[in-house]
Symmetry: D3
Subunit: 141 residues, 6 copies
C-alpha cells in the first residue's frame, strides 16, 4: 500500500446557518459564519488515494486522471459558486467544512473505486488555521 | 527610512459585475467572478509603513498599535462580510482586488499619518496566484 | 468519525539541557540547543480533535470554543515566555519538542473530553524542518 | 510512542518512461513527464520516525543524527543528480515519485533501526500539488 | 499606478556550464549546478504588471488574459522541458536563473505593452532560498 | 541591474526593553516582548544583492559565495544565541527587528561591496505576520 495525494483549490461563498433559526439565533450559535449576506473562502482540497504500485507504469493511479476526476466532479461544481445555493450534493445540508468534506468523499469514492484504487482521505482546509479530515464511514484511523 | 509590514487576514464574499450589464454580459467580461450568487476568498492583507527608527523604543511604529488600527478600521469591516453589500468604503465601486486595495489605502493613510509614520504600500492577495499592490496616488515606485 | 484541526502559534525561549551536566557535557549531548543564554522559536501548534458530526450544527466541535480552550490553557502560558522557567506543566522536564508536545496533550485532553470530543493529535513544529506528533499513551497510530 | 519528522530537500532531474516503449507510446502513457530531454523538480522529503522518549535527553532520536543519516544516504545521492542515470538504488526502476519514495524507505529503514527507532513514513513531494506517502510493506495505516 | 501580480509554475531541467570549459572547470566554477546529466527545479514565476485602474471593469489588466499570455508564451515553452536544449529564447545563453528571468522579460514585455499595460517585474524563484528579480534595462528600482 | 535574493534562517532569543525602565514601564511600552526571562523567534532573513549579469558565468554574484558570507558573518553570530547578550553588533542597542535588520545591513554591506556587487535590501521576518525591510541610509526606495 502506498498513498498519493493531489491538491486542488476552489473559491466559494457559504453561510453556516439553520433555516429554522432566526438571524439572532444563528449569530449566537454560528457566530460571524452565519452572516445572511454570505462570506467566502479559498478552500484547499487534498485528496489521498491508496493502492499498490502498478509495475507497468510505476503509479498507484495516474495523477493526471485523478486530477481530471476531481476537477470534473468537485471543482467544477464548487469553484466560484455559492455552496448553499448552487452545489447539488450540499442541498439540504449545513454548509460546515465537515459536511462539505463528507459530501466530497461521497462524490469521489465510487469514481476512484472504478479505477482500481481506494479513496483514503479527503482533507479540506477552510483557512490556514482550520481544516477537516474525513477517512470514510468505516475508518477511525 | 525603514519599512515595517504587518500581515492580516479576512474572509469575505464578493462579486465583480456591473449593474448596467445583464448577467450574460457580466459573465463575458468578468468570467466566473460575476456569479450572481457570490463567491469568496481568504484575503491576505499586507500593510507596509515607512519611517525612521525612534531611538527611544527601537520602533518605526508600534506594531501592536498598527495591528489595532488595521483591525478596527479594515478587518472589522471586511471579515465575514459581503464586500459589495456591507462595506461602507466600497459602496458604488466595482469589487475588484484593485479597488479594494485602493479603498483600504484611503482608509488607512490618514490614520497612519496621525502616528508620525507614512503608509507605503497596501498589498492584497486574493488567492495564492493573484495579488495587487498600491503605493498611493503620487507614487510610481 | 471525522477530524478537525486548529492551528495556533506561540513564540518562546527555551534551552535543552540537564542540570546534572556541565555546560560542556550539555553542549556535547544537546548541541547549540543547550546555549545557557537561551534561544527561541516561533512554535506552530496543530490540535486535532476527533468526533462525529452533530446534526444540529454540522460541527464535530465548535472551532471557536476549541480555539478559546487552546488559547486559555496553552498559548497564554507559553507565548512570549521562557519554557524552562515560566511554564507550570514543564517544570522539572527537559524542554525538548517531544516533552512540550506531551505536556500540551496532558493539558488539553481532559478539557476536550468535557466537550464530548476526543483529542486525537498534538503536532508541534519547532522549525520548518522539525516537528513532533503525539497521539496519546494508548495510541500507536 | 511519539513521532518526529525531519524535512530535507533535493533538486534533481528525472524522466518517467519505459525503455521498451517508443517516445510516442511513452508520451501517451506518461504525458509530459516522459520528455526524452529530462525535466526536474525541487523534491521535498519528510522522514518520520517513531519511538518512545528517552528520559535521559527528552528525544525519540537525536534530530541532528537523523539529519546526518538522511543527508549522507539520500540527499548526497539525489541532490543535483539525474535520478534515472546516477542514483544507485533507482537503477532498473521507473522513476515515478512512488518508486523514489519506496527506494528511500529501503535505504533508510535499516539505518534508523540501528539507532533504536523505527522508520514510520517517507513522504515525498514532487510539486506543491502532488505527493506520495509510504509506510512500509507491512503497514496499511 | 497600481501593480498586479500573477504567479505561475513550471518544472524543468537545466545545467549551468560553459561549452568551452572541461567538466572539471565547470564543476569548479558552477559547483553541483554543472552536473553533465542535468538536474531540475520547480520554478515559481511571478509576473508583475503596472497600470491604472480601468473604470469600466475595475482592472489594471484582465488577470485571465495575463495568465493566458504567460501560459502560451512562457509556461508552454518551459514546463517539463530541458531549458538548455529545448527553449528557443535560451539558445546560446548560460541557463542561470538571472538569464532565464531576463529571457522571460524579453518575451513578455512587448506582449503586455500591446494590452495597454506595462511589465514591471519578472521574479523567478529557483528554490525556496534563491530568487531573482528583473525590472528591465532602464530600471534600477 | 538585476536583483538576486538569498534566504537564510536563525533561531534566537531576545528581549525588547530599556535598562533605565522598571519592568512595569517596559511592560507598558514594549508589551509581552519585554519579558525579563526572554522569548524567541525563528527569524527568516532575505538578503538582496543588485548588480549586472557577468557574461562569463551568468551570475550577478555567486550565490554559494553570498550564502557563505551570510553564514559566516550573520548566522554564526545569531543562530541559537541570545541577541541581547551574545551578539557583538547588537551591544548597546534595543533588540527590535528594526535594529537587528540595520545591524545586519552594516555587517554585510562592506563584504558584498568587496565582491563587486551592491547590497540592496535586508528583509527580516520575526513572525509570519511581522517583517522589516531596510535599504540603507541613502535609499528611500
Amino acid at each position: 500500500m502506498i498513498y498519493i495525494t493531489r491538491r486542488e483549490h476552489f473559491n466559494a461563498a457559504h453561510r453556516v446557518f439553520r433555516e429554522d433559526y432566526t438571524d439572532e439565533e444563528n449569530l449566537r450559535v454560528f457566530g460571524k459564519c452565519s452572516n445572511p449576506n454570505w462570506h467566502g473562502h479559498n478552500y484547499v482540497l487534498y485528496v489521498t488515494v491508496a493502492g499498490s504500485v502498478d509495475a507497468a507504469n510505476g503509479f498507484v493511479m495516474d495523477l493526471k486522471l485523478l486530477g481530471e476526476i476531481i476537477n470534473l466532479h468537485i471543482i467544477e461544481k464548487l469553484d466560484h459558486k455559492n455552496i448553499n445555493l448552487e452545489v447539488d450534493f450540499m442541498q439540504g445540508k449545513l454548509a460546515s467544512a465537515e459536511n462539505i468534506a463528507i459530501g466530497i468523499w461521497n462524490q469521489l469514492e465510487p469514481l476512484i473505486a472504478q479505477n482500481n484504487a481506494k479513496l483514503h482521505c479527503v482533507k479540506l482546509c477552510e483557512t490556514e488555521n482550520n481544516y477537516v479530515e474525513y477517512f470514510g464511514e468505516h475508518k477511525n484511523n
